[in-house]
């Protein structure tokens, strides 16, 4: 009898530890995806020493000032009561659990391409951090319009829902880079200019934008020799993403520096290599965004 009891007890302990280990593994994977996304730095109000992922950071855009939301697992003010499906729907369709459409300042337009398993790991990580009770700040838009009608219009005519698909004609490394850049690292959201409706102008894919987030210039990262990063080698690209140091020895500024600090620096070498492989195959586009050539 005692032997049976001991066997059952041991079995339960093993099962329990396997479950915990699987959860930890999922959280660890989620943390990596979180960092690959740039550490969701928009959701932490670093300038005002805000708490991690509690939102409140202002994001100036041509459409007005948006304030990032609290994505900590706080039940009242964060996303603590979201189910897995709520999270997936928000990330892939830009719709809140209450059915509200998010403005595309939240880059679900890229995040929709993240694979379901990766999204669930990301949720597991976000739900493992400390909840913060902090109410969201209302956005200050240029046009005092509601969210529902314009966003339904926008989603119908400007945006299209899609899934990431591998390109069988390309290498495994290239496809991994394409997946990361198009979905998780969401580079196009800043480096591709937007049209007057706020949609990405794909004819100028990655050719830079003067209206980047927070009013910053997002450089042309196509391999154009004159105005882009055509003179950068693949090693230059991956080293830059790891360190923020450009081939000419200058250090990156603004949001990119923050994103590298919060996230990209933690990418493993294989992923950095994949990203560099993919970026170097962009179509070169000449787009001079710099208005002068002066220095300090």
């Amino acid at each position: 009898m005692l032997f049976k009891f001991l066997c059952l007890f041991t079995f339960l302990i093993i099962c329990f530890s396997l479950i915990i280990s699987a959860d930890e593994e999922q959280i660890k994977k989620g943390e990596y995806i979180f960092k690959a996304s740039g550490g969701c730095s928009c959701h932490t109000n670093k300038i005002n020493k805000g708490k991690f992922l509690a939102g409140g950071r202002s994001i100036k855009t041509p459409f007005g000032t948006f304030f990032s939301t609290n994505i900590t697992p706080d039940v009242k003010t964060g996303i603590g009561n979201w189910s897995d499906e709520d999270f997936i729907r928000a990330m892939k369709l830009g719709v809140s659990p209450a059915g509200e459409h998010y403005f595309p300042v939240f880059p679900y337009t890229s995040f929709q391409l993240i694979k379901r398993n990766d999204l669930l790991a990301l949720k597991a990580y976000i739900f493992s951090i400390s909840p913060v009770n902090q109410k969201n700040t209302p956005h200050k838009l240029i046009l005092p319009i509601g969210r529902k009608i314009p966003m339904i219009f926008w989603k119908k005519f400007v945006w299209s829902s899609k899934q990431y698909e591998n390109n069988p004609l390309r290498t495994k490394t290239w496809n991994r880079g394409a997946y990361l850049v198009q979905s998780i690292t969401h580079c196009a959201e800043c480096h591709t200019p937007r049209d007057f409706l706020g949609g990405l102008n794909y004819e100028m894919h990655m050719a830079g934008s003067v209206d980047g987030p927070e009013g910053e210039l997002a450089p042309n990262i196509t391999p154009d020799l004159k105005t882009g990063i055509g003179s950068w080698s693949k090693i230059d690209i991956s080293y830059f993403l790891k360190t923020g140091i450009k081939p000419d020895g200058d250090y990156t500024e603004g949001l990119m520096s923050e994103i590298i600090d919060s996230g990209y620096q933690y990418l493993v070498d294989e992923d950095l290599k994949s990203i560099a492989e993919y970026i170097s195959t962009f179509t070169p586009i000449e787009n001079n965004l710099r208005n002068n050539g002066t220095s300090p």
């Binding site: 210039l217 080293y239 923020g244 140091i245 450009k246 020895g249």
Partner: protein, 150 residues
């Protein structure tokens, strides 16, 4: 009336010479000079980074570049005198409005480049790679606060 004119003349002369602001031609010269100094700093940073990321067999050069970078770091304060915020420069006026903050960040550059130099003497590549980033961040911190964006 004559006395007033003489007073104004000498007061003006006094103000011009007692001020540490540069006259426009000197200002333009100083701006060009510091642009070249900053380019030299970036050049040494870029050279170290090139050796590291391409694993070039000239690691002994790292110390030379680190030494030069450290020398330049000590010049930073002196190449931003008052009156050099106008003209073809990306230097923000906030440098002179927040001089103590500028001094602090410049000192960080000196401190981090000194550490880089010390590590370069030992030749520990991993440690140098970490330290070059820390040194670069002091440049980034200064640019973020005090350099106009494009």
């Amino acid at each position: 009336m004559m006395k007033t004119k003489i007073f104004i003349f000498f007061t003006s002369i006094f103000l011009i010479f007692s001020s540490n602001k540069l006259v426009p031609s000197e200002s333009a010269g100083m701006i060009k000079y510091r642009q070249n100094v900053m380019k030299a700093a970036a050049g040494h940073m870029g050279a170290i980074v090139s050796i590291l990321k391409n694993n070039l067999p000239i690691r002994d050069h790292i110390l030379e570049h680190a030494n030069s970078l450290n020398q330049i770091s000590k010049m930073t304060i002196s190449i931003f005198p008052k009156g050099t915020g106008l003209g073809r420069t990306k230097a923000k006026n906030s440098i002179w409005k927040n001089w103590s903050k500028f001094e602090k960040i410049s000192q960080d550059f000196v401190d981090e480049s000194t550490k880089l130099m010390e590590l370069a003497k030992n030749g520990d590549i991993q440690a140098i790679a970490k330290q070059i980033r820390k040194t670069g961040k002091t440049c980034g911190s200064c640019h973020r606060n005090f350099r106009k964006r494009d």
